[in-house]
């Protein structure tokens, strides 16, 4: 890439940071140039974020309707999924799924809850609650 064609698209995903790109300068030598963003990259990053956000929103409504425990929403809210949460806690996926059931979650042992809390960066109290969010649920 030519040094002058390094995109400077001020992507929101960069949050005013710059990324180093190796590009060719006028004299033919390859150098590091800071890029403030690239639209194509921003599109795919946002696509991934939107996908996660949609899952969090769906989960939120399921919790609100009493179909799932708050744990289910918190997992998606911190951009995790069942696989990542299972890896992080070393709990089997099927046992985590059981904790997504409101009835089972209501009786969860404090010790198990604290494992979730630690890997999710929340307090056990936070995990039991559904925070106020601006999601529209049917």
């Amino acid at each position: 890439m030519d040094i002058n064609s390094v995109p400077q698209d001020d992507s929101s995903t960069y949050a005013h940071n710059k990324k180093a790109i190796y590009a060719k300068s006028e004299d033919g030598s390859v150098k590091v140039v800071g890029s403030s963003g690239w639209d194509a990259e921003e599109i795919v990053t946002k696509q991934a974020l939107n996908d996660l956000e949609e899952m969090a929103e769906e989960a939120y409504c399921e919790v609100k309707n009493g179909e799932k425990s708050p744990l289910y929403y918190h997992m998606y809210a911190i951009r995790m999924d069942l696989q990542i949460l299972s890896d992080a806690t070393s709990f089997f996926q099927w046992t985590i799924k059981r904790d997504f059931q409101p009835a089972t979650f209501a009786k969860i042992k404090e010790k198990r809850l604290s494992v979730y809390a630690e890997v999710m960066g929340k307090t056990t109290k936070e995990l039991k609650l559904l925070p106020e969010e601006n999601y529209e649920c049917n």
Partner: protein, 333 residues
């Protein structure tokens, strides 16, 4: 004792950035592209069975930690790598090393690092950074993909060092115990180029090297059979693996082009290497074009021309074949 003469450098890739900055600090002046090239870090692999966030792993470079390992193997650098059974031990050891005046590399998860842009925080566990000083419970960090050095609090740093799951860092810290300062790079350059070219051209498994690229192209051409939402996410994922996950763009091809140019100069302006550098540069450009095609397809409401995307990627693979053959020419000359 604290580190006084430390210098942060803005790099394209975390692991080569950390190793370049670290080695320079200890007297071996190698640019980031040189580290990347000498470690034979350029690669391609499409691993449909290894999932990241429900999507297959598509790697444009060698496995995490391989640059650290290859610096030892190829340059004779001696590194100490330490992992920890619990957080407290990991925290204490870091403080100890910093108090001794060392600068220390660490593996972390991007998600838990507060200085990362919110929209870039995903659960990716193999991010490398350098810790060079501390002020109480605040750590001064040289994160290679940031323009300036940053500060991170102890709790966040510990959480990110001890995240679990795929490629879990286990608190990994690393630092050199021996750094050679007088090296004849030429034979190492030749050897490392040969290794990249050979493994890209001749890997027998269908998921790596050029064969892996063909396999990904084939998968793209079959995406029309899948649900459109999944197809779009899959395509977006390819671009993210190429442009975003720890890279300064175009699947590390620009970085390698820079290495080839630097090498050409060392070999008395070797023409073959300079040509190879130009070719690699334009392959990087083609990959960016491929990324742009995908970004447009994702945004558009029209049907996606999967065959055109697959064809583009196959054309890039063709160019890569030419490049690696040229590099072998250089190696056998």
């Amino acid at each position: 004792m604290s580190v006084t003469n430390f210098q942060h450098t803005h790099s394209a890739h975390c692991e080569s950035g950390v190793m370049s900055t670290m080695l320079r600090h200890y007297g071996l002046n190698l640019s980031e592209p040189m580290v990347f090239g000498l470690a034979s870090a350029l690669s391609f692999a499409y691993l449909p069975f290894v999932k990241m966030g429900g999507m297959p792993l598509i790697a444009y470079r060698s496995l995490p930690k391989s640059i650290i390992k290859n610096m030892q193997k190829n340059l004779g650098v001696k590194m100490k790598l330490e992992t920890f059974s619990n957080k407290e031990k990991g925290e204490n050891r870091l403080d100890e090393l910093l108090d001794e005046g060392k600068i220390v590399g660490a593996q972390t998860s991007v998600y838990w690092l507060p200085y990362f842009p919110e929209e870039m925080r995903f659960h990716f566990n193999a991010h490398n950074l350098l810790i060079y000083d501390r002020d109480g419970d605040n750590y001064n960090i040289s994160d290679p993909v940031f323009e300036e050095s940053v500060v991170c609090d102890k709790t966040s740093l510990t959480t990110s060092r001890f995240t679990k799951g795929v490629m879990a860092p286990k608190g990994l810290l690393y630092y050199p115990t021996y750094v050679p300062t007088d090296l004849d790079l030429k034979p190492i350059i030749k050897k490392s180029i040969k290794k990249v070219a050979k493994s890209m051209l001749n890997t027998p498994v269908p998921i790596a090297g050029i064969k892996g690229m063909r396999y990904l192209a084939k998968t793209i051409s079959k995406l029309h059979k899948k649900d459109k939402r999944y197809a779009k996410l899959f395509l977006g994922h390819i671009v993210r693996m190429q442009e975003e996950i720890g890279t300064g763009g175009a699947g590390f091809r620009y970085l390698y082009a820079s290495f080839l140019q630097e090498s050409s100069v060392m070999f008395d302006n070797d023409v073959t290497l300079q040509e190879a550098s130009d070719m690699q540069m334009s392959i990087g450009d083609e990959l960016r074009e491929f990324a742009l095609m995908i970004a447009k397809a994702i945004k558009s409401k029209k049907d996606i021309d999967y065959d055109a995307l697959a064809e583009k990627f196959n054309a890039i693979a063709d160019e890569e074949v030419k490049l690696y053959k040229k590099l072998l020419e250089f190696c056998s000359a």
